[in-house]
């Protein structure tokens, strides 16, 4: 579904540019089709939420954008998935470089069992940065962007595992930001967090969307409604392949969905 930019709230989405695009994408795990002909334009510097019942292919869809599905044996993609109009499934795409541009945050905070500082410096070091003062600058900037600096600036040398769950998740976001991505994928980033930590992450997502394109998968429909600019509703067909039912501005999808199946899902009539 291509975007009708006229429907977007200009205050929340400043740039009328498409950052991510899928065109008639099919995803197979062996003989099983997980996604069927999904076409979607995701606007730059915005938050797009993918919602839908369990097993409808939300996470599979999200993992198309950094080719995480490549890690699954027998996974096969056809159709085009583009970032800035370049098909990331072309043969000459460097997947390591792609994953630097497209960062990912997972369901459970997964800091490395090393210090707070080293967690954030890990990515830049892997990409060849070794200068200590440069790394210090990157770590501070990333932690500030992740709204965590004030809470950890005096304990950068301590183990990241000593932080609270919410802080750990913001540390993981800082770790993603440290390699200066353009896109951040979030797969249920708050499902292991308490409500206040969840709201803090949501605030953080909003402020990050000024600079980054964020795509979030969430089971929590209320979270999708609260935080996103655009929302896509996926559903399983009879053969369990996920298809796109509806895509549009969040304010419209949650107040006046066009498809009855979306209405039934968001009003809790099925799912």
């Amino acid at each position: 579904m291509s975007l009708n930019y006229a429907l977007l709230n200009e205050r929340t989405i400043p740039k009328n540019e498409t950052k991510l695009k899928t065109e008639k994408v099919n995803l197979f795990y062996g003989a099983f089709q997980a996604l069927r002909t999904i076409s979607l334009d995701i606007p730059k510097q915005s938050i797009t939420a993918i919602i839908g019942p369990s097993g409808c292919g939300k996470s599979s869809f999200l993992r198309l954008f950094n080719r995480m599905n490549d890690l699954i044996i027998e996974a096969r993609v056809d159709g085009a998935v583009a970032i800035d109009d370049i098909n990331i499934y072309d043969r000459d795409i460097d997947v390591v470089e792609l994953r630097k541009r497209v960062g990912m945050v997972f369901q459970k905070p997964n800091p490395f069992p090393i210090s707070v500082f080293e967690n954030v410096a890990f990515g830049p070091k892997r990409h060849g940065k070794t200068n200590r003062s440069e790394l210090e600058g990157i770590v501070e900037r990333s932690l500030r962007q992740a709204a965590l600096w004030d809470e950890v600036k005096d304990k950068l040398g301590q183990s990241a595992l000593a932080l609270s769950g919410g802080q750990q998740q913001r540390l993981c976001i800082a770790r993603v930001l440290a390699v200066e991505p353009e896109v951040i994928l979030m797969d249920e980033p708050c499902s292991a967090l308490d409500p206040i930590a969840t709201l803090k992450i949501e605030d953080l997502m909003r402020s990050l969307s000024d600079d980054y394109t964020i795509v979030i998968v969430t089971h929590n429909m209320q979270q999708a409604a609260r935080v996103s600019d655009m929302a896509a509703f996926l559903m399983m067909e009879e053969d369990r392949a996920g298809t796109l039912v509806e895509y549009g501005p969040t304010s419209q999808l949650f107040t006046n969905p066009k498809d009855k199946r979306t209405e039934d899902y968001i009003t809790g009539r099925f799912g």
Partner: protein
């Protein structure tokens, strides 16, 4: 660290929009009686045309409230604020209609000679506009006590209305030729009296926003 900053900002934006609408309505009401005093048909027609802007503002604010309720899951005081805004914009829109109604009466009167100098009608207007203005301030400041006291001031407007009514009826009894003109002025006064009742309703919503309790503060006799 303040949380839900975007939501809080949007809530403040809605309150600003409500104040802007309130000021449009205040202006419409004051000017409608000004048009009556000065027999200013141009102004009256302008008020009639501008009512569309007030109506649009009401729908815009309602839509934003619905979006926030649907997407932000407001709770407790935030929820009560949004529900109250939905009620208050509806009261404001109706006050705008009363102003438009007065402007239509002005057009109807045209260049008929005045029945009498207008004294109590401008007083009713001044009082009602003042109550409206202060009620919206009280909403913004979550000031329950001021809201309750404004609602009791509706009695003053009722008394003025009663005075106007008695005076106009005496004109009609004395000289039936004045009936048409007197009736029109009575309509104007009735519109103003209803406006003050609507301010009382706004005050009830302020009390609800602050305390969560819904009850009538001052039941009008008219």
């Amino acid at each position: 660290m303040e949380i839900r900053t975007t939501f809080r900002k949007r809530l403040r934006d809605i309150q600003d929009e409500l104040l802007a609408m309130g000021s449009m309505v205040e202006k419409a009401l004051s000017r409608s009686v000004e048009a009556l005093k000065n027999r200013d048909l141009k102004l009256a027609n302008q008020i009639i045309a501008d009512d569309q802007k007030i109506n649009k503002k009401r729908f815009d604010i309602e839509e934003t409230c619905i979006q926030l309720i649907a997407t932000q899951q407001p709770m407790a005081g935030d929820l009560r604020t949004l529900i109250s805004v939905l009620n208050i914009v509806s009261e404001l829109e109706r006050i705008g209609d009363h102003a438009e109604g007065i402007a239509k009466i002005v057009v109807m009167i045209g260049d008929e000679p005045p029945l009498k100098p207008l004294i109590d009608i401008p007083r009713m207007t001044e009082k009602t506009v003042d109550m409206l203005h202060r009620s919206l301030d009280a909403f913004l400041n979550c000031d329950e006590n001021t809201a309750k006291s404004i609602a009791t001031e509706d009695d003053e407007v009722d008394q003025l209305y009663n005075q106007v009514y008695r005076e106009l009826v005496s004109y009609m009894v004395e000289d039936p030729k004045t009936i048409t003109r007197a009736t029109r002025l009575l309509w104007v006064a009735h519109n103003l009296e209803r406006c003050a009742d609507r301010v009382t309703n706004i005050c009830e919503r302020i009390v609800f926003t602050v305390t969560g309790k819904m009850y009538e503060i001052n039941v009008s006799r008219y």
